[in-house]
Amino acid sequence: MSAVDDARGVLERVFAPDAVKVFAMFAGIWLLFYWFGNQLGYTDPFILALVRRVTFLSAVYALAVLALNIQWGYAGLFNIGVAGFMAVGAYGTAMLSGSPGGSPPGLGLPLPLGVLGGVLAATVIGLVAALPALRLKADYLAIVTVAISEIIRITFNSPAFANVTGGASGFDNLPTNPVRTLLLTEPGSIISDPTPLGQPIFSLATEYGIQRLTVVNTVYTVGTLVVLLGVYLLLERIGRSPFGRVLKAIREDEVATRSLGKDTQNFKVRAFGLGCGLMGLAGILWYAMGPRASIVPVNFRPELTFYIFIALIIGGSGSNTGSILGGALFASLLFEAPPRIAAIIGDRFDVAADPANLVEALAPVVEGDLMPLAGFLLNNIDTLRFIGMGVLLILLVQRRPEGLLGARKETASAVSLADDTRPGTAPERPTAAADGGGDGDE
């Protein structure tokens, strides 16, 4: 008994630092998908590509979840228009940095400017659209934001502006992947000569039989992780500052916060703008370039917003580390894992049956034949996955609304607030007794 407790204590201590939690989680995800790849008989380069894919998706989800966390987790602003602001970011960058000769034409600005422009556009649209709505009750804000995101998507989808946005077929003229620019002399052609920087990387990869495309995507994924780390550190700083403290106070009780002289509307607006800008950034890294680059209005349906919400609730709203855990776990375990597991089960048990519908799948069960049902379920794993997400969301709200780390209370201050920070306990001021403190107080 006590041995178990000891072991638990040791484990808790080991996993106490956030960095350990995050690294352990990523290591777990990588191991799992390595095993998946192994089971499916993939060669090592393919397994690398699979792990890379999962890592990238985890990173962009985590980024979007972090952005939502500053709005909902910190300030209590229930924004369910995330997809719309991601769309504005992605479209903005593509329009600014797409080549002027392409169709639809871009402005051909340098990519850093395009990214900045996309982020700013998402911020500005977020502010303009939601500014008056921030006064509203949480559930009204929810309805307004989801309506705004639909207006944005339908506008991008409309044939009326197709010469600018590409309409329903999307903005095809994407900016050049910066990793290609970095590694290749002709970014447009994957087989062109590598740059001096690309040379050693590509030749190393060739030794292990890794394709150039995988190399480019892997480097991009690493870059995304770096951005994720940067945004995380930024938000941690904001959380541990007087600004974050006011946001937290607004979430707790806006009237009380206002009575202390805080212009709560102003704080909410800034938190909302910051969150929208970061959503734009997530949209850019996810859709405007890199391995999953594809700017099509369908990408930005409200479902995307809900995925990000589920991820935040898993991780625990209010916690930045939780946001990363939630984003990565959602992307890997809920999104990418089910199809692999289905494939493995299908392989292992030779499930070949492919009934056309549920009735045909269920009927043989009476006769003890489970194969058709198994085949049906495996073939519909995508649909089952969504049902699973819904059930999970309900269970989380019922059983663990604080998610993985949301219950953990993080100090909102730029300095430590531990008991030993009390002036009286400091060695140089040993006699600051309670009443003395009272006298000298004001």
Partner: protein, 299 residues
């Protein structure tokens, strides 16, 4: 965009930008701070309410209330249920916009200003039901309160060069917060979440937190309701200390007649949305109308 905009509140407190208000709380600045406060603030009548009227739909909650509160006084506002005390309070602090009439603070018209702007003028309130920020510790609650913190700007909180400044101010605030906690003798609760405090402790915390904004005048809404006698004594002692040492002005809304009569030098009685009488406790006690209003109101 993310920079904190200088609202109208800043314009009213220009001196706070260079010398944060919290420095006044340092022990070594004790005497000079009091002197400074006395110099800066001419003795007189900080709060003036004239012809205040507030209607909700067809109901008139406050019907032309006129009164004023003297500098460094402990003034009580009493009246039977439904006399309009709370509504008057909410009109003064910007929670409601008055239908008619004016509210003046330090000679300036603050009628209809937003609550945070009024608080930034140094007119700070507490609530009848203590509104603690449950998931924040007692110390965090206190550190939230001071106005115009440098770290309330996103850029300053984030940029490496400017962050040091924020951290420095934070440690000053922390020191002030500890001292304030000691003053209220709730320093042993510093790390406790406000949600875990008892009712009386919450009242102390709320007063401490309001004090951290460095107010000139405090409006206390039923600050003693549900507080046990020991804590009540403690709260009253602190209020008397602050008034004497800091020249802080207090306006108390209270149900408990005896408490007001024993502690306030000036009492305002409201009845049916109007000021029925005002004066010293002795004068009020002698007024038969007041007694009658109370008896009538109680039935």
């Amino acid at each position: 965009m993310s920079e904190r905009s200088d609202g109208p509140a800043d314009a009213n407190l220009p001196d706070d930008v260079d010398a944060p208000d919290t420095e006044d709380l340092e022990p070594e600045a004790d005497d000079s701070a009091v002197e400074e406060a006395a110099k800066r603030v001419p003795r007189g009548v900080p709060l003036k309410v004239e012809g205040l009227r507030k209607e909700f739909g067809g109901i008139t909650a406050v019907d032309g209330a006129t009164f004023s509160v003297e500098e460094a006084s402990l003034t009580g506002l009493i009246g039977p249920n439904g006399a309009g005390k709370s509504t008057t309070f909410n009109c003064i602090t910007g929670v409601h916009e008055p239908t008619a009439g004016t509210v003046q603070f330090r000679g300036e018209d603050i009628t209809g200003e937003r609550p945070h702007a009024i608080a930034n003028r140094g007119l700070v309130r507490t609530f009848q039901i203590a509104r603690e920020l449950d998931e924040m510790t007692v110390l965090e609650n206190l550190m939230l309160a001071p106005g115009h913190q440098r770290g309330e700007s996103i850029t300053r909180s984030v940029l490496p060069g400017l962050r040091g400044d924020v951290v420095r101010q934070e440690s000053e605030l922390r020191e002030d917060a500890w001292e304030t906690l000691e003053f209220f003798e709730i320093d042993h609760l510093a790390g406790e979440y406000a949600g875990n405090l008892s009712g009386g402790q919450r009242k102390l915390l709320e007063l401490a937190r309001a004090l951290m904004t460095d107010p000139e005048m405090m409006l206390l809404d039923e600050a003693f309701a549900g507080v046990n006698p020991t804590l009540e004594e403690k709260l009253l002692d602190r209020i008397h200390d602050l008034r004497e040492q800091e020249d802080l002005t207090f306006l108390l809304v209270e149900h408990d007649m005896d408490l007001i009569m024993e502690n306030c030098e000036h009492v305002i009685v409201m009845h049916q949305g109007r000021v029925l009488d005002e004066g010293t406790p002795e004068e009020i006690k002698a007024n038969e109308d007041v007694v009658e209003a109370y008896l009538g109101g109680e039935v």
